[in-house]
């Protein structure tokens, strides 16, 4: 059968069906449940079903909470900004510390690779030069100035 014909046929047949009737038990069940719901305490119902006084009170409380939020939130934001300032300072300190550490490491490497092998020889050279200067100064004092600076 052509799908369009089939659709028409089934549509006609289904629409001709009488609506199924609700069982007799449905009405008593619904009414019992409705009575039970009507006897529930107000706070266990939806807000729209609360007594008007409680609706107003709860709306006022909600407004109070919102207003308090309006007061507290800017302070909270300032606190967060202060915390972020401290975090920035800490970040700067950490950055400086890292730079110091890098410089120290570079100096240490330079020392070990270039200076440390030379230092004993330089120290010996400087000592010798100092000794030579001392000898030269003593000789000069004796010969030229006649111990004038004694």
């Amino acid at each position: 059968m052509d799908p369009a014909d089939l659709e028409q046929l089934i549509d006609r047949e289904l629409r001709s069906l009488p609506a199924p009737r609700a069982p007799r038990t449905l009405l008593p069940r619904v009414m019992a449940a409705a009575n039970q719901a009507a006897n529930r305490p107000w706070y266990s119902r939806t807000w729209l079903q609360w007594p008007a006084g409680w609706q107003v009170a709860s709306a006022l409380v909600l407004l109070g909470v919102v207003a308090a939020g309006g007061v507290v939130l800017p302070q909270l934001r300032d606190a967060v900004e202060a915390i972020s300032f401290v975090a920035d300072v800490r970040s700067d300190v950490a950055s400086s510390a890292r730079e110091v550490e890098t410089a120290t490491t570079a100096v240490r490497v330079l020392w070990r690779t270039l200076l440390a092998p030379v230092v004993p020889w330089a120290f010996g050279l400087v000592t010798l030069m100092c000794a030579a200067c001392a000898v030269f100064g003593t000789a000069l004092n004796h010969l030229v100035f006649g111990r004038a600076f004694r």
């Binding site: 046929l9 629409r15 069906l17 609700a22 069940r29 449940a33 409705a34």
Partner: protein
Amino acid sequence: MADVDRFEAFVRTYQDMVFATAVRLLGNPAEAEDVAQSVFLKAFEQFDSLSTSPAAAGWLKTVARNTCLNHLSRYRSRWRFFSELGPSDADAEPGYEASLEGTDSPARTFELADDRERLEQALRRLPEHQRVPLVLFHFEDASYEEIARTLRISLAKVKTDIHRGREALRKILERKGPAKAGHYGE
């Protein structure tokens, strides 16, 4: 108490419509009764505005439909999974035709019932993945696209499932009296 009396009248007026929507979508009278009860309880919560509204019937029908679909959604992933794994040439679930024809099945009851009752029962016994889109299309006037969106399945699957459901129902219709059988023949 006046409200209770008015609500009782309200339920009496619309109970058949709500139950019919539910039982056709769910295919199970017991579950349909549960859903109808929950629909009327929702109506009871808004009865002040609903009792005087001319759109009360539409509201009830929409709520009934959505409640049924929510009810089915608990099982939808399961039936969608099996429907997509199922045999491609099946008119319905395996054993569905046999269940209508077998001598030890409700088919015997259907043979004794009138044609419309038989069709109604056949509709209820369709697998959910065929019955739900079929009912939405023919009773709720939903388009294929709306059904696909509502059930969150592909348009092609909606069309396939509806077509298979119709074919299954046509076979039931063909088993009616000789006059009608000739009329429905291909």
